[in-house]
């Protein structure tokens, strides 16, 4: 990475840091227990008030506290799923790009097949089969989102594999694994960093979507997506129940997008591939 730091990147980094802080410090920041009925309005959602700034839900639980604790699940799933995504995508991309030939052909046709399936639909089917749990969900999200990364990394590795410095290292007797790890991979990292930031916004959205469809991390763990789904019967009487958790998702996704596009601005070359 070179070039000047830009505002987008800084704003994104600050927002991501604030999210991490909220998630880590949740027990200290949340004014109430997220899983307990703390309002007297049991049975009806309570409007935002001085005691409950974002209102309470139909079970009398504090919405603000639930959103604060929800950051833990969302970030865990989002970041861990991204790690799975990157591991699969980078491994497949590097292998295809570096070895070329039949390996490349087979891996890329497999990638094309996966690209042809709508990620959400596939994730829904997998989660329904495996039953929703934290581990299953982040694995499934990882399993359906690696295609883009594999393609981009492959394209980069393909151009790297023929460069003089790689050929020189090969002539000196370096083995293929060593060439990939020590010579090709480091040169692909700028692209990987960009893809990781942008990819996290994708995994966050996918997780939220699954939760909204009732296929997220099971209750009583508060999750932003499910809060919106649960609020759907109170649209008329308590629109804030759906509004605030959505703003939280929006904030988190925007944070990672700003970070990713900020990196992009700094490193145009990495950006070329990452946007496709």
């Amino acid at each position: 990475m070179n070039g000047r730091t830009n505002t987008m990147e800084l704003a994104g980094a600050a927002m991501v840091a604030s999210l991490l802080a909220v998630a880590i410090l949740a027990p200290h920041l949340a004014p109430h227990d997220p899983a307990r009925a703390v309002a007297s309005t049991f049975g009806d959602p309570g409007a935002p008030s001085a005691a409950f700034p974002l209102g309470t839900d139909e079970l009398g639980r504090d919405v603000l506290s639930r959103i604060i604790f929800g950051a833990r699940v969302s970030l865990t799933v989002g970041l861990a799923a991204m790690a799975v995504t990157m591991t699969i995508g980078v491994a497949i991309g590097l292998a295809a790009g570096f070895f070329g030939g039949a390996v490349d052909f087979l891996l890329m046709r497999f990638t094309d097949v996966m690209l042809t399936l709508p990620a959400l639909l596939l994730a829904m089917a997998f989660v329904a089969v495996l039953r929703p749990s934290l581990l299953n969900i982040l694995l499934v999200i990882g399993l359906v989102s690696w295609t883009q990364i594999a393609r981009v990394v492959r394209a980069e590795a393909l151009s790297m594999a023929q460069r003089d410095f790689v050929l020189a290292a090969r002539a000196l007797g370096a083995s293929s694994p060593r060439l990939i790890v020590r010579h090709v991979f480091p040169n692909v990292t700028p692209t990987i960093v960009v893809m990781a930031a942008l990819g996290t916004s994708g995994t966050l959205l996918l997780d939220a979507g699954l939760s909204f469809l009732g296929l997220g991390v099971p209750p009583p763990t508060p999750s932003w997506g499910r809060m919106i789904e649960e609020a759907s019967i109170y649209f008329r009487t308590a629109p804030w129940l759906a509004a605030f958790p959505g703003l939280a998702i929006f904030y988190a996704v925007l944070a990672f997008n700003l970070l990713g596009y900020g990196f992009l601005r700094r490193n145009r070359r990495a950006g070329r591939g990452a946007l496709r």
């Binding site: 987008m8 046709r109 042809t116 399936l117 089917a125 629109p239 929006f250």
Partner: protein, 309 residues
Amino acid sequence: MLAFLLRRIVFGAVVLIGTSLITFTIAFVIPADPAVAMAGAKADPQTLAAIRHQLGLDLPLYLQYARYADRALHGDLGESYVRRESVTRLIVDRFPATAILALCAMAFSLGAGIPLGVFSAAWHDRAPDHLTLLLSLALVSLPVFWLGTMLLIAGGLYLRSFPLGGYSGPLSLVLPTLTLGLGSAGYYARILHTNLLDALGQDFVRTARGKGLSPARTLFKHALANAAIPLVTLAGLDFAGLLSGVVLTETVFNWPGIGRLAFEAIFNLDIPLIMGTVLFSALLIVTANLAVDLLYAWLDPRIRLGTPR
């Protein structure tokens, strides 16, 4: 051109076979016994065995797949376990609603994204560009289902100008189209912005300017034509993403399309319907990609002639 066409069609067929293998695998590992789903939990073993035999579930796996593939090629995707109706029939019935929604959303996202991208490229690195950049990033970051919910509350409950869901004439299309299209609009604006800046740095633009063409004319006649073509391709390739959004949008708006059908199928573990909807989505995506490939080859001779770019 014919060779190119054939290559793309063969490739599409290979992708579809791969897709069907994946969906078949998913269906096979689903922990639900279709015989129990049809006959009820209290059915005696003989009945269950008879149903399994009738469905071909006692055959070896590769024969089951061959049977499924053979029927699918003849347009028969089996019968829904829960609804007891033909899967093909259900999909054909629901398809028009999804097609209208997807086309409107695509038209909207290109119609809004292209001007936005041109605007920001024309004001490159000045305040209007930064504002559009922020706007498009915000649009990309909106969770589809939340945007839909908020539009429903604002437009349906407060303004009372739009129906609260379902499919009832052109007015009911407005909110779902916005829900599905706004995110892509932001995305296309970003991509077009990058492509335009690329195009503006190239020789033919300098030539055009050198001939005395005005900046505006150069931008619209020369640069935009070159920058917008990849965008159309991208829109075609993005079809898979669009269909993911369709599932959420249709759920929020109670839209009688394929997306909600797939959602119901997965919720009921209705295996033939899950396989049918996933396979049909793949078919749509493969067709969209093929159409885009052809369009692209027609627009850009370098591709159909196979010369390296």
